[in-house]
Structures are given as structure tokens and as C-alpha cells.
């Protein structure tokens, strides 16, 4: 993509995605080389349909989103199995993904991923489905914990292998 396309893309990308890209993630901690960390990322009681929580996981350089999609989804937690979480780095060429209407959309090359279907690329260029964050719900408190990532985060040789 040419420089101007990149600028154009930055102009059209949502503010939340850019915020993530600039390195939000106060809660993050150094990823263990051995196993995925467990990190509290939200609480199910407060998570309304289509509400998003941005966080980074397993380290500061990996923006993710937690969302209640309002319908049963693969890997979903909660009463309706509707709360899921994904990496928001497009698996095609690493651009930020925006959550909207049940899918993650990349405005660089228009790949779209269905968050109810395991992050499946249902349209666009990304040959790898987007990486899904493994969630655990603490039934007593309603706290949601990120505890792993299934699939490779874009731009990495290993999800936990950044120096």
C-alpha cells in the first residue's frame, strides 16, 4: 500500500482503534515465555449488548477487544454464551480492526471477520482467521479473565515470543 493510502486509512479508522494502537494497556504485564498470563479484563454484569472493552493481551503490543455480541458465539461465555474476545490486529497485514455489527472490519483492505463464528474471514483478504482470546468467567464475581490466545497474533513468530 502506498504512503497516501496509509494516511487515508488512518483518517478513516475509528478513534478507539487508534487509541489501542498507540499502546493502551495499563493492566498488562510481561508475558511469560512459558504460558499465557491470566488477566482480569472486565465484568460480565456491566457488559451490555454490543458494548466493547479494549485491552491488550498477552502484552502491551497486542490490542484486543472484549464484546457482548448479543447472540450465541463460538467460545462465548456468560448466560447466552455471547461474550467473546479477539485480537484486533488484522491477520492480513496488521492493520487495526474495528468492531461493528457482529464483525471486525479492517479498512486497509476490507477484510471482515465474524466474531460469532470463531473469527472467520467471511469476506476479504485475510487467509488466517483472526486470533481469539480464551476467556474464563468467575461465576461468583462475574469477573472475566483472559487466559490464552488461539491462533497467531499478527506480526509475531509466536504469541509469547516478543523480546
Amino acid at each position: 500500500m502506498s504512503d497516501i493510502s496509509r494516511r487515508k486509512f488512518l483518517q478513516t479508522t475509528s478513534a478507539s482503534a487508534l487509541l489501542l494502537f498507540s499502546g493502551l494497556g495499563r493492566e498488562s504485564q510481561a508475558a511469560s515465555a512459558q504460558s499465557y498470563p491470566s488477566r482480569k479484563i472486565g465484568n460480565i454484569k456491566n457488559l451490555k449488548v454490543n458494548e466493547q472493552i479494549a485491552f491488550t493481551y498477552p502484552d502491551d503490543n497486542s490490542p484486543c477487544v472484549l464484546v457482548n455480541v448479543g447472540q450465541e458465539a463460538f467460545g462465548g461465555i456468560g448466560k447466552g454464551k455471547s461474550v467473546v474476545s479477539f485480537s484486533t490486529l488484522c491477520t492480513h497485514m496488521g492493520c487495526p480492526l474495528t468492531y461493528s455489527d457482529g464483525r471486525l472490519v479492517c479498512k486497509c483492505h476490507y477484510s471482515m471477520f465474524d466474531v460469532s463464528r470463531n473469527g472467520q474471514t467471511y469476506q476479504g483478504l485475510a487467509s488466517q482467521w483472526v486470533a481469539q482470546v480464551v476467556l474464563r468467567l468467575d461465576a461468583a464475581t462475574g469477573n472475566i479473565y483472559a487466559e490464552g490466545v488461539e491462533g497467531l497474533i499478527y506480526g509475531r513468530i509466536g504469541n509469547l515470543k516478543l523480546s
Binding site: M1, S2, I4, S5, R6, K8, S14, N61, S62, F74, G75, L89, C90, T91, H92, M93, G94, C95, P96, T98, S100, D101, R103, V105, K107, C108, H109, Y110, M112, D114, S116, R117, N118, Q120, T121, Y122, Q123, L125, A126, S127, Q128, W129, A131, Q132, V134, V149, E150, G151, L152, I153, Y154, G155, R156, I157, G158, N159, L160, K161, L162, S163
Partner: protein, 855 residues
């Protein structure tokens, strides 16, 4: 939790990993790729590796380096050892610049592995016996085919052998395999019953342009970034030629190529963001992506099916009335004698302008306002009087339209009238489907009905009882030929008649006895001996008598050109073919050499000579031998038009290996001054490819309605919907590889139908339901998507799918001028199917694939 096996770490190639250059095996774009192979147990490090990328850092967006889960596999070589295989997009390729599509991004997954999804690759020749197929030796297979072919030719004539083979590049094919097939069938057998991959005859799909003196691949990828206006006519670039759209069209629409325009354009010439005219009955993803980028710079015209040439002539007439053409150019570069015919029949100058446009509106369904706007975007000079630069690319929506010849000719002529050929930012031709790699001895039918044609319809010949041997190579006509149900039924019946005869008393194992019994059957039955040569079993091969295992992409050295720059590159061999699979040229050479030996033993020198010249030992020898077909290519820059579009004479495999992703653009000429080989960036700047160098005009036919095969449905309430077909971005052709890749099959699990909400409401259909699509030719069960891609009254289906083909519904109509079918239009009924396929519905996405909007 995952629907598929996922990885969260990838092996790293050590610095000394084997490295090869290749080009994607799929679409017309031909993205460059680099291949790395290294022993499974060895590893590079994050800092020191064959990618020469620091892998210890988070990769940045659009860096041009991508290495994802789908780009890695583990293969086993003939030495019994396992190796890592990484196939990654080439950043240094000017075609893709590190970009890739969902097709090319899965190249590594298609590699043969003995335990993975490709484990059912064909490994040995298979002969059909009483209880199914059994593996036999190449010696026996070659003897059966050679003896049977010779006997059939001797007894029933050359036309008793019919074939349906690819003629293209990529997909593990190229100039080498085309030359092999060409030598065997065109020089050796010399049958008239030849047909090209999916279609019923042996023909160009663009004789309407070629017979004007204009080959369809005349532009460069740069022209898509330089154009003031891009016209995509029946050409869904975002989904079909994806990276050409994202790397060359999209930056132009975004204004990313204005600096390039300023460098290339005349002094003072306006250079701004590009515009795009999309002519397609569907609001496809190309349209909606373009609209998301810049809605005011997108014009979408939706003509009635089959009427595009009337629309092209109307746009030309508007340009004519507004004097948006260069008279000097027309006089200097085009044939003014035939121009009179064009003026009278295509522009219909005798008919008053208003009446002409009123007729065009009525036929095409496109309003006068839309036509005038499109004509202005294509042809109206820019501020300061500078000629507009328009690149017009058409594809299956045009070539597989009703009246193939006139459709293509009308668009070619619109572009020459408005001087939109031979200048930077212009061009007129195919977007392309696959890559190309055609080099063959002369075909029996040189052209359309106006140039020695039309060619024979092999489907009609075979279904009508003609032919004794039918050899099918790298194509699956049971899915892909038009009117496929009838075709399949007829071939199956003839194949079974042969099998029944052979089975009576047992099928001999000895090749001589076997052939003798087949010859006996020929006398007693209408039996057809079908040979299928492919990399997997196909839908068609279920009725073959013999299946031959072919080598695939990366298993032999191939060469092809892409469509958007005619860029010739090497597709190097990086792994072994499974079992005893062989490259196609080698299979044909084995049989050809055997037939030659049989004729020599008979003392028949004339026939032996026809099958000589196939004694090649290597891929490089076949490539060099084919080059002789191009004749003398010493030419200056201004003489390029007389060279064949794919001429590569003088180029060798060694040279291409050195050029790597840079390649060289055909036609390659030998410069008379320097003796050096020089590529051709853009064509027809100085003259056209006719004998006198002038563009030849042609007066197109008037509108006379639909052919009988379709007319029977019009006003029949049982078949209220117009029906058109197309492709999905995810899956390539018949899904021969993709149906084995779980991610692809989950995304496109079934044939699908798109229907407008107004029509869906009346039929009580919603997204995720199943519907039966039917007409008198056949039927298909499809998954329903309700969306606004189609208009009310029009439904769209995926052309073919491993689990059902919509070509059951297409008619047997072909253009009488070219024998090219109208794949893209017929009429159907649609009804709800009440059965449920819960498993597929659970994993498929039901979101609409033409809606890219975000809140």
C-alpha cells in the same frame, strides 16, 4: 474451542534454508511469492533467519512482510525426510508489494503431505476395473492409451479422439504443459474436436478484440494507478483479482497515485484522484468497497442481462455526438473504410440521437442520465482540453455474455474511438481469471465466423455420440461445462455402455488384451473411453476408464505470465510430486513417443513424423522448444504490435531464475540495434496488430431479443427470475484444493444464492434458509443470502461448487460466431426447501459480504 486446528507459534527458517522464487498458483494477478524449505528439526533464530527480518519485535502494519499460520506446512520429500515449508508474499514484487489474497495466503496449505488435507492426491495411474479403480504402472497406462489412440485414429480417423484441456498458465501449468499438450493434440493427433478447459470449443474468448488488431492484454499494472477513470465491466476485481484491486486500483481512488500521475502526465495536465465506473447487474463487493472509499467517485450502471454491447455502443454514440474523440488519431491508426460500417451499424448515425438513446434506455434498462455521465467519465476531455485517460477492463460478465463476439468488439471499439489505448493510464482488455501461458502449434480454427470459424462444439459432439476417446486434462466438466446435467448424463451413459461391455466376461489385465476388448466394444456400443488427467480425482473422473496423476504447482518448473502486466516469471520446483505423478508435458510426451514407435514399427513414416519432436528431457527443453513457435522476434519498439502477445523467444529458465520476481514482460523482442532481449510495458502505442497496422472496425448486430434457449422462459410465470452467476473470493475454480481446507469449506460450505429482500419476502425466505433453484435444464439446492447485491427480479448463484453446480441451470446456447457459451444468464424459478442442514449453518457466517460499513 477452535473450529480448526490453530497455531500460536511458527517455525523459523535458518539463514541457509533453501529459497525459491515462485508466483501464486491462482488468479490473473500473479502475486510474487518466496518459498523457504528447511529440515523440520532445524530452526533459525528471531535475529538470524532466512527472512532477514528481526522477528523479536512486533511486526508493524503493512510492512510488506507477512508470515501467518496459513503460510506454513510440513512436507515429506522422496528421501523420506520431513521439511518445513513457508510460502510468503514477496515484498519486492511490483505486482503485489507484499500484499496477498485469501487464495494466495493459503498456498502452503495446498502442498502435498502424506497425512494432511491433501493426502488424497493422485499418485499412480488408475484403471477402472469391475469393482472400481486399481493402480497400474505407467508402462501399462501409456501402452493402453497409445495403442488405443493409434487404433482409433487408424480405424475411425483423427476426429475419433476428442479432448478438453486447459490452455492457461498458473494452477501448476504453464508454457511447458501447454506446449506438450499442443504438440500431442494439434501436431500429432490433429483432431478438430478440441476444447478449452471449461468451455465447449477451442476458441479465444476475445476474438471480438483480437480480430480488430488488439490483443486483450495490452496494459500494465501501473495504468490502473495512472488512469483518470477505471471502468470495470462485468469484472468483480475486488473478489476475483483482489490484489490488483487493493494495490493498484484502490490507491488511485484514494488519491495515493497523484504524484505518479504528475510525473507521467503532460505539463499542465490535471492529475487527481481516480474515478471508477462499475458496469454490473450486481452491487458486488467491488462496488461497495469503492463506494466506502469515495462514493462520489463511483458510478454503478446495472444493465439488463445480455444487453451490454448496446450500452457500449450508446456510450460511443454519446462520445461521438460530443466530439470526444481525436479525428487525427482515428485517421492515422484506424481503418477508415471499415469505420463507415461501425458508424452505420454500431453508432447508427442514421437514427436521430434522441431516438437512438431512447431505444438504448429501453433495451439496457440504464437511464440516459447514467449513460451520459458514464460517457463523460470515460471520454470527456479534462480541463485544458487534455485527453482523459481511461482503463477499461472486462471479464466473464462480458465474455460469457450473450453474443460474446459483439460484446467484446463493442467495448474494444468504444476505447479506440476515445483513444483510450496505448497511452499511460489507458488500455482495454481482460481483467483475467487465471494467468496465461499459451504456446501451441496453430489451432484448426483460427478465428470467429469472420476468420475461418466458428470452431466445433465438442460438448455437442460427445453428447451426440461422437468420438471414441475423450481426454480431459485439469478441468472438471461435470461441474463447469454449461448445461452440465445433460452433459454428465450423456457421458455417464456412454462410459457405462463401454464398461458393461468390458465387464462381460471380465476386464483383461494385459494391456494388449484390454485394448482389443475396447476396440471390440467400439463396434458393438456407443462406448466412450474417457481419460482424466488431474491432481485429484474429480467429479468427472468417476466415469473415466483411466485416471492419470499429474504434478501440481511447485512440483515441476513452470513459467506463466500474469494478466495485468504480461509479466513472465519462473514458478520454481520446490518439492517432489506425490507418488509417481508427472508433469502434464511429460505424460503427453510418453504417450506421443510410444505412438511414434508404434507407427515406426508399422513403417508409417508420415504418421511417425507427426508424433516426433516430443523427446524432451527437462522442463527447460520444452520451454525452449515452444519458443520456436513465435518466429522471428527481432523488432524495434515501434514494431512491437506485430509480435505475439506471449512471445518469449530467447528467454530461458536460467534467465528467469536470475530475474526472480522482477521477470520480463511479454512480448519479448530482440532489439535489432543491441541484440538484447527487451520486454514490452504497454502495447499499441505505434500501431495495431493487423497486417497494415490499422485497427479494424466492425459494425455490431442490432438488438433482436434473446436466443430460443432463453426466450422460452420469458413470460413464463414458473421461471420469474433472471439468473446470473459469479465467484466467491474464498474459493478457486472448482474448489479442487479449497474443498480440502476446513476454513474454506466452513466459510463456503454449500452452493449459495443471493436474492433481493423484496423477492425473499414474497417467497418467505431468509438468510440461512435453503432454496431450490430450477428450470427446464436442471436444478440446484442452495444456501440463501438475502441482500441488496441483486435487483428485484434477479438472483445470483455461485457458478459452481464442489457440492453442487449452478451450471445445471445454464442453457446449451453458444454464440454462433465464436461457440462461446452464455454462462451468465438464464431464467429460473426459486422455491423454499424445508430441509435443514444444521451443521453447515452452525459454522458458516451469515453476514452479508457486500456490506463494509462501520458505525
Amino acid at each position: 474451542m477452535s473450529l480448526t486446528k490453530r497455531k500460536d507459534t511458527l517455525p523459523i527458517p535458518p539463514v541457509d534454508a533453501e529459497r525459491y522464487t515462485t508466483v501464486c498458483q491462482y488468479c490473473s494477478v500473479g502475486c510474487g511469492y518466496n518459498v523457504f524449505v528447511w529440515p523440520e528439526k532445524r530452526s533459525g533464530t528471531a535475529k538470524s533467519n532466512a527472512f532477514h527480518v528481526d522477528l523479536s519485535k512486533q511486526g508493524q502494519l503493512m510492512s510488506g512482510f507477512s508470515y501467518t499460520e496459513t503460510m506454513h506446512n510440513v512436507i515429506t520429500r522422496k528421501n523420506g525426510n520431513r521439511y518445513n515449508l513457508a510460502i510468503i508474499p514477496a515484498k519486492e514484487s511490483r505486482i503485489n508489494k507484499g500484499d496477498y489474497s485469501i487464495r494466495g495466503g493459503t498456498n502452503a496449505l495446498t502442498a502435498y503431505t502424506p497425512t494432511g488435507v491433501t493426502k488424497d492426491r493422485l499418485k499412480y495411474p488408475l484403471l477402472r476395473k469391475e469393482n472400481g479403480f486399481v493402480a497400474i504402472s505407467w508402462d501399462d497406462a501409456v501402452e493402453i492409451i497409445a495403442t488405443l489412440t493409434k487404433s482409433s485414429m487408424d480405424k475411425y480417423g483423427a476426429d475419433s479422439v476428442a479432448m478438453k484441456f486447459y490452455d492457461h498458465g498458473s494452477s501448476g501449468l504453464g508454457f511447458e504443459d501447454n506446449w506438450g499438450a499442443g504438440k500431442f493434440f494439434l501436431s500429432g493427433v490433429k483432431t478438430q474436436y478440441l476444447s478449452i478447459h471449461n468451455r465447449p470449443a477451442y476458441n479465444s474468448e476475445v476474438w471480438g478484440s483480437r480480430e480488430r488488431g488488439m490483443h486483450e492484454l495490452n496494459y500494465d499494472v501501473d495504468d490502473a494507478r495512472l488512469a483518470d477513470t477505471i471502468v470495470l465491466w462485468g469484472a468483480n476485481a475486488y473478489e476475483g483479482a483482489t490484489v490488483f484491486y487493493t494495490e493498484h486500483i484502490m490507491p488511485n481512488l484514494q488519491g495515493g497515485s497523484i504524484d505518479e500521475k504528475k510525473r507521467e502526465f503532460a505539463s499542465g495536465e490535471p492529475a487527481e484522484e481516480g474515478r471508477i465506473v462499475i458496469i454490473d447487474p450486481r452491487k458486488n463487493a467491488t462496488t461497495t468497497v469503492s463506494q466506502d472509499i469515495s462514493a462520489e467517485r463511483v458510478l454503478h450502471l446495472r444493465p439488463n442481462l445480455g444487453t451490454d454491447w448496446i450500452l457500449a455502443n450508446a456510450l460511443a454514440r454519446i462520445a461521438w455526438e460530443n466530439n470526444w474523440y481525436d479525428k487525427d488519431y482515428l485517421q492515422k491508426r484506424t481503418d477508415m473504410k471499415t469505420f463507415e460500417d461501425y458508424k452505420s451499424k454500431s453508432l447508427e448515425l442514421a437514427k436521430p440521437f434522441a431516438a437512438f438513446l431512447a431505444d438504448a434506455e429501453k433495451i439496457t434498462g440504464v437511464s440516459r442520465k447514467e449513460m451520459e455521465e458514464a460517457a463523460a467519465w470515460i471520454a470527456k476531455p479534462k480541463t485544458g482540453g487534455f485527453e482523459r485517460r481511461t482503463l477499461t477492463l472486462y471479464e466473464k460478465g462480458i465474455i460469457w455474455n450473450m453474443k460474446n463476439y459483439d460484446q467484446v468488439a463493442a467495448i474494444a471499439q468504444l476505447n479506440v474511438l476515445t483513444h483510450n489505448v496505448g497511452r499511460p493510464g489507458t488500455g482495454c482488455g481482460r481483467l483475467g481469471g487465471h494467468q496465461e501461458g499459451y504456446v501451441r502449434p496453430g489451432a484448426p480454427t483460427p478465428g470467429s465466423i469472420y476468420a475461418g470459424g466458428p470452431p466445433k462444439n465438442v460438448d455437442k459432439y460427445i453428447t451426440g455420440g461422437g468420438g471414441k476417446i475423450y481426454w480431459v486434462g485439469a478441468t472438471d466438466p461435470y461441474l463447469s461445462t454449461p448445461n452440465s446435467k445433460f452433459f454428465k448424463k450423456s457421458v455417464k451413459k456412454r462410459a457405462n455402455n463401454l464398461l458393461d461391455y468390458l465387464d462381460n466376461g471380465g476386464i483383461p489385465s494385459d494391456p494388449k488384451a484390454y485394448v482389443a476388448k475396447v476396440l471390440e466394444a467400439y463396434e458393438k456400443t456407443d462406448g466412450l473411453f474417457m481419460i482424466v488427467q488431474d491432481i485429484y480425482k474429480t467429479h468427472t473422473s468417476e466415469d473415466a476408464m483411466l485416471i492419470l496423476p499429474a504434478a501440481g504447482w511447485g512440483e515441476a518448473v513452470d513459467t506463466s505470465i500474469n494478466c495485468h502486466s504480461r509479466l513472465l516469471r519462473i514458478y520454481d520446483k520446490f518439492m517432489d510430486a506425490p507418488g509417481e505423478a508427472l508433469p502434464d508435458w511429460k505424460i503427453l510426451a510418453l504417450v506421443g513417443n510410444k505412438i511414434k514407435a508404434l507407427y515406426t514399427a508399422d513403417g508409417n513414416k508420415e504418421m511417425a513424423a507427426r508424433f516426433s519432436g516430443m523427446e524432451w528431457k527437462t522442463d527447460a527443453e520444452v520451454f525452449a522448444d515452444g519458443a520456436q513457435e513465435f518466429g522471428d522476434n527481432r523488432a524495434t519498439e515501434t514494431e512491437e504490435a506485430r509480435l505475439s502477445a506471449e512471445c518469449y523467444k530467447g528467454v530461458t529458465h536460467a534467465m528467469l531464475r536470475k530475474l526472480g520476481n522482477e521477470g520480463i514482460q511479454t512480448p519479448v523482442r530482440q532489439d535489432p540495434a543491441t541484440g538484447k532481449l527487451v520486454g514490452t510495458k504497454r502495447r499499441y502505442q505505434y500501431s495495431f496488430a493487423s497486417k497494415d497496422g490499422l485497427f479494424k472496425w466492425y459494425g455490431t448486430d442490432a438488438w433482436t431479443g434473446y436466443p430460443a434457449e432463453i426466450a422460452k422462459y420469458i413470460n413464463n410465470p414458473t421461471y420469474p427470475f433472471w439468473f446470473t452467476t459469479g465467484r466467491s473470493q474464498h474459493v478457486w475454480q472448482t474448489m479442487y484444493h479449497d474443498k480440502r481446507i476446513p476454513e474454506k469449506l466452513m466459510t463456503v460450505p454449500l452452493p449459495y444464492l443471493e436474492i433481493h429482500p423484496d423477492d425473499a419476502g414474497k417467497l418467505n425466505l431468509k438468510t440461512g434458509d435453503m432454496a431450490e433453484v430450477f428450470n427446464e435444464e436442471g436444478s440446484c439446492l442452495a444456501l440463501v443470502y438475502v441482500n441488496d447485491a441483486t435487483k428485484p427480479g434477479l438472483v445470483f448463484g455461485i457458478m459452481y461448487h464442489a457440492k453442487g453446480t449452478m451450471n445445471n441451470l445454464t442453457s446449451s446456447y453458444t454464440d454462433p460466431k465464436t461457440t462461446i457459451p452464455w454462462y451468465k444468464g438464464t431464467k429460473v424459478g426459486v422455491k423454499k426447501y424445508n430441509g435443514k442442514l444444521d451443521d453447515a449453518i452452525k459454522t458458516v457466517s451469515l453476514l452479508s459480504n457486500n456490506d463494509f460499513r462501520t458505525q
